[in-house]
Symmetry: D2
Subunit: 345 residues, 4 copies
């Protein structure tokens, strides 16, 4: 089968013919990929930024945001069967550790991460675990929803943690209306009546944000922190969801957070630096956010099925992976890029 | 009456004769002071560190940690009466704002802070609000409990927020077994079965900590982070309560916090600096902690009455305030220093 | 001024001329009534059902659901001033007890309840406490929102408690789409993406419910429990909000609640009777619900200002109170009846 | 091997020779039983009360409270190995359903319950799932802890749910200081500083309860509800844990629950019957409680290892099962009866 293989860091991946994966263990599931999302993290992987963190042996197959159809299942698998349309939770978790049992599978003690530390989904077929498979309504097109598996799930997870902090009358600032932020705004709109203020340097993104349910938009032009403080009687917002996390956003996010409020870190690249006296005298929090759990992915798929979360995507043939990467890198890619193997197109 | 007055920053306060405070509003309460705690913050006030933050006009009376007996009440006060033994919540709050009504009076929008931004309790009498007064069992000696009003309440507040994160089998690291930390350890012991690991640079303090209920103690000698990681299978603790917050403790605290765990900032002086990628990839939190609420002070007094929290204190006559400050500054003061007006001694 | 006075149980109230209330205490507020909601509880009061519970001395003024404009305030009142448009929290609470300080003022230990145990708002003027007054946007018409003060607040309170139990993919059954239920459905829609199933014996009410955001409606025709179980794979709903509470609804509600789910009791009249073995073997809960807190009323008013909760009301002059009561009793009153004093009309 | 087999309802079980269970699936675990607790539910099973609920085919092996040593594991099992000392979570859960993934495995959609609906642990060997096995400290004696697997876990689960409702200053009433109640009191003492009031008809049990940490004890002599109300200023307790659930205890429990409080149903046999107007006007809750989760069992074992929960047990040889049942039925059995196979004795 065809697969996007990374052979050497800092060189382009190639589309190779590789052996098809086969069921090995009782809970293995082979998925025919219908769509594999492309993400800035893929660019970073190619650049070698994840080499020491993932420890993966090259060559391997990229793709950590996947959806498709079940082709084959191991002998002990009962909850899905061949032919089912599925989206894949990004982690293959153990199901036995305290975290898995506590509803916190993201912190599984022995998880694998296809596309990061083992073969991923930019391929015709992917082998994963039965624990990763979320069954979808039969007519769903995998390429339409694949981007929810990672980008969407991360945004949903942060929003879900923020919901109890956001009663009517509160304010939530969303920093960055891009790939994750635009899903975050829709999730906030679906699950709260908070006043959503969206901040972005791009006026077109703000225009879109209003359509997704933002109450206010603010152009990130240097006076945006002051604007948000003015909108909130000088207090700041109960929650700031920072989907950017670098180039000053991480500093602005803290400054826009009110007393007893929470600054959610989602994007990354920068450094959070706050004086302890500021932390304690205002009792503000810095909240880390990773991807969501399996159950959260199932919940997000319900929002998608209800039409409350929609995605902007652009499809590429699997063979065109490097075109897609170039477009992403050059800022030419509006919405999420989705690679679609030929037989699924 | 006599009162400890600060006339000029960076000069010693003096014990002056000043007019007695009188009931002015319907909810005013005049308290005869039985004990006023002395705190490192008082040293910082004298040094001028709080000048711009508090905006207080000099001269004024120090003392933000007070207990005594009610002498007189305003016309609308019903829940206490003259003669009642009381401890004072450090803030005089409004009772009308959203925070006060939400059980979060620490974040009252219009509070006063006796001893910080208005006349405090290092005096024979203090005027406060009926909202600040917690009634105690009749026989309680104010000088014995005064230190719970601020130091104790801060420690209790942090512990109470941490309790849901600390089921049996978890670990809580307490950084600093001093004035706040020794109360924190006792509160943890009263409210959880977590494994308590206490960290201090002073072996004597660690010895005491074992008596208060610490399961393990670690001398802060440079290898302490490694020791804590070793005790926790390399993972770190679910919660780290940092009562120091400076001189590297704030950095160590983060490093001893496990995935999905929380670093509670209580002490201050340093800067929390963490890379966003570390925050998100481990989903750790930095949690701010201010003093506790009025209800929390009432809860803490129950722990004290049950004998589950005890204090180490040393009394000084009110006139000896500068001796007490010198002892505190020079590290000669074991436990909390309590100023006792002559007529209450 | 004119006021609706109840002189004798089981006799019609009369509209009398009575002295105007005056400010007596420092936190008193005199409100010019713009609208006073009429409620089935008012009929029950006239019938004497509340005589022993409220212990009120006759004659007194009815009306426990009130909105209007501030006319005069006591000397210590700072957060509202004459001319402000306001809605009144139904309870006048003390602000000092543990419940008030814990954000649970509904359980205040020393509250008064105008219209139930002291003079209410079916009058030109009402005296209440500064603690009860929620300031509204200036243009708001009191008669348009008065029904949110009690009916709306009760529905909102129950929904708010239910929200954490209702992630996407869950089901919430609303039993009864009447005065409270229609607000409950709108609040659920504003705050969750749960699947809302509305149950009513009236087809017209179900038609309306679809417009407010119900996902499914079920006619209460005897087979409705079976229908709801069928819709939920035989499991029942995570939450059942029973706004009826009598004539079998209280029994059906329990039967429609799934394992580990919660049956919220809001309406009353019947008896909840469940075998303990059923309670424990399915781990279901019965959850009591009273009116909401002051802060919840403020939140509900935000939903109203955002247009996410709207009311169906019918106005009557204050003088026509008995016509309104007759219409309510005979089932001729669509929506909530609101009494409007002549000078406010 | 030897096993306690039930052949016919309402007849005594017999100790038969049956084939040893073997590993069949990849996650099977064969446990050599070191202790199997005997429970009133076993008497009820013999009487046929569970026949229609469990649907089990006779003959089968009793025993739903088990601990021992791992003898053999299936090919995919990694977290335990032969020789490990273990206690068994009473349910064998699927690990794939929403409940299992949400940290709520008790409500697994496809669980088995050894000793109830499949062969249990009153035998030399038991086959269970790797998901059920909690590893213990090597020296632990299975017979000493087996009773924690079901009785203890049920009590711990209820207490853990109650903890957030029980701050210092609150009151928790424990109804029944027997097999579950005595563990409940110890768990409350380990995890809260609430005032624990224990109610029992047996003075000796109350004497013991004081040793486990009860603050007050009340003899259930007919005036006990009045006594508890008097102890709580006429208000009742924040939480009442009813470990009896029949013969009037279920009625008394409700009456001892204060406004906004919760009546936890744990014991069963009776019927909870409360007027809806009482439920809503006081906003009280009835809370169902089943056994705890796997993680909660692990937490409880930590309490046992710390010495904070101890059990009173009496051992019988497996062959003496009917003597043990007779003793239990006749009230001659102090503490929990534990059956110990000969080779483990």
């Amino acid at each position: 089968m065809k697969a996007v293989r990374l052979h050497t860091y800092d060189e382009r991946p190639t589309v190779d013919d590789v052996p098809e994966p086969a069921v090995q263990g009782p809970y293995d599931v082979i998925v025919e990929i219908g769509g594999a999302g492309l993400c800035r993290t893929d660019l970073h992987i190619v650049e070698g930024q994840w080499a020491s963190r993932s420890g993966v042996a090259l060559p391997y197959t990229l793709g950590h945001e996947n959806a498709g159809w079940v082709r084959e299942v191991g002998g002990a698998v009962e909850h899905v069967q061949p032919g089912d349309t599925v989206i894949l939770h990004p982690l293959a978790t153990c199901g036995f550790c305290r975290a898995c049992r506590a509803g916190d599978d993201v912190h599984c003690e022995r998880s694998a991460f296809p596309g990061i530390d083992t073969d991923g989904g930019m391929a015709e077929l992917l082998r994963t675990s039965a624990r990763s498979v979320v069954r979808l309504a039969p007519g769903t097109q995998p390429a339409d929803v694949a981007a929810l598996a990672d980008a969407g799930l991360t945004a949903y997870h942060a929003v879900k943690k923020a919901v109890p902090l956001l009663p009517p009358g509160s304010t939530c600032v969303v920093v960055g209306a891009g790939g994750l932020g635009h899903i975050g705004v829709q999730c906030l709109r679906a699950l709260t009546a908070t006043s959503i203020v969206v901040l972005d340097a791009n006026e077109a993104a703000l225009e879109l944000a209003r359509g997704w349910g933002a109450d206010e938009t603010v152009l990130a032009d240097g006076s945006h922190v002051a604007s948000v403080l003015e909108m909130t009687d000088g207090q700041g917002a109960e929650v700031v969801l920072d989907f950017v996390g670098e180039r000053g956003a991480e500093r602005d996010a803290w400054q826009m957070t009110r007393r007893a409020g929470s600054h959610f870190v989602i994007g990354y690249g920068g450094t959070i630096a706050v004086e302890a006296i500021d932390v304690i005298s205002t009792e503000r929090n810095v909240v880390g956010n990773l991807v969501g759990t399996y159950n959260e992915l199932a919940e997000l798929m319900v929002l998608a099925e209800r039409g409350q979360v929609t995605l902007h995507t652009r499809s590429y043939p699997l063979d065109a992976v490097n075109d897609a990467m170039d477009d992403l890198d050059a800022g030419r890619l509006q919405g999420r890029g989705i690679l679609v193997p030929a037989r699924s197109a």
